[in-house]
């Protein structure tokens, strides 16, 4: 439970921290997104119910901070991120056994790929809502850029959180059969 609390605090702090990181002009405005990394680590380290709880809190926080309500119109419904995080978290959860065997590289790459999926899903939703399917190069740079940065930062986050777990008496146990 303490470790779950640490991960929730981690989600919150990473959400606040990423607000202070400027979009990368040289990557066409791609953003450094830290919160999804913590969320995906949680999906690997926590049991299924923990992953769902983390996805719920993370998705809710994300939508509350990022999605603007303009002229009393909600462009993306509050809560859609929860579903997306839970779906991606469930896929990540399936790779737990490999993670427990100390193979991190796949999860770091998946973390990057899934971060791109989140950014692309956001774009698709606003594109459908606003009309006009516009896909200039900048869109792909922003989608891909956010993923590459997340993949590069993942090892640091994964290592730190994995190192922290035993200190609070948490052991990552194989709760269910994964797909690997």
């Amino acid at each position: 439970m303490i470790f779950f609390g640490i991960l929730v605090a981690g989600l919150f702090l990473s959400l606040v921290a990423q607000e202070f990181i400027q979009p990368l002009a040289w990557l066409y405005g791609a953003r450094v997104l830290l919160m999804p990394i913590v969320m995906f680590y949680g999906a690997l380290a926590l049991p299924y119910w923990g992953m769902l709880a983390l996805a719920f809190l993370g998705g809710l926080m994300w939508d509350a901070v990022t999605v603007p309500v303009v002229d009393s119109t909600v462009e993306i419904s509050l809560g859609w991120s929860i579903l997306l995080y839970a779906t991606l978290g469930a896929i990540m959860s399936g790779f737990r056994p490999l993670f427990q065997r100390g193979r991190w590289e796949i999860h770091c790459l998946m973390s990057g790929f899934f971060t791109s999926v989140i950014v692309l899903a956001e774009y698709l939703m606003i594109t459908i809502r606003r009309g006009g399917l516009i896909f200039p190069n900048e869109v792909w740079w922003r989608v891909g850029g956010a993923g590459v940065i997340a993949a590069l930062l993942s090892p640091f986050f994964f290592f730190t959180l994995n190192w922290l777990a035993p200190f609070v008496g948490y052991e990552i146990k194989p709760e269910q059969k994964g797909i690997l």
């Binding site: 919150f12 702090l13 959400l15 606040v16 921290a17 607000e19 202070f20 400027q22 979009p23 002009a25 066409y28 405005g29 791609a30 953003r31 049991p47 299924y48 119910w49 769902l52 709880a53 996805a55 719920f56 809710l60 926080m61 509350a64 901070v65 990022t66 999605v67 603007p68 309500v69 303009v70 002229d71 009393s72 119109t73 909600v74 462009e75 419904s77 509050l78 809560g79 859609w80 929860i82 579903l83 839970a86 950014v119 956001e122 774009y123 606003i126 594109t127 606003r130 516009i134 200039p136 900048e138 869109v139 922003r142 956010a146 709760e175 269910q176």
Partner: protein
Amino acid sequence: MRRTNIVASVVFILAVGIILALNPRNTIKVQSAFLGMVAPFFRTGSALRVRIDNYHKALKSLAQLEHDNALLVVENSALKTDNETLRGLEQENNRLRRAIGYEERSVFQLIPARIIARDSGTWWNTVKIDRGFDDGIDPDMPVLTEDGLVGKTTAVSKNMSTVLLIADETCKVAASVEGTREQGIVRGERTSTSSQPEISLSYLSKTADIKPGQKVYTSGVGGVYPSGVAIGVIKDFKVRELDGRATVIPAVDLTTLQDVFIVVGKK
């Protein structure tokens, strides 16, 4: 599947269902409540960043500081004089407007605010400011600087608000072009290629005599933005199938913005 997981899944689906079913009014309430919770963290982070910036600025030499101070003193005197002259002109203008039966033109009542975070999402152009309900801020209040229009407030919490910038595609402003009778709608672009975002002015007449360099101002139509606030300068004008469309360079540099004013009413 274990029983705990089944129960967790059912609870999760119910909770998500409730959240997704929220109407815009309740969504705003949830957003405001959450912004109120995170506000102290944003303020602390912003204050920390300002301190770091100031530390770098403080490394200037004493001679440089003396020089800067001397320039600021001169500038301050000049601005005071300008201010006095303008105040006189304002009174005279209002007197003349009254004389010919025009409504008196008031200056805005402004509340200064500092930007504490920017661009939360990848696809939205927003900033967060350190003012909220406690300071008299409400949603849909115009935000500007001495150079021109910045945007309007959206989600407002106790002591923090989100400002939708004019560079955002969902921010629409009724505008008019200097020296013409042309009126149109200014809105941002979904994605921008340049570092300084460009905005567009649509629904102009196809025969409009619009040239680069002409200024664009708010027209006041719609009620959200007061009239006469600078939006930007025309970059180019193109005739489309049904209307004319101009590209506008914003009057305010939205990428380096630090301090803004919220229009809370008229004096």
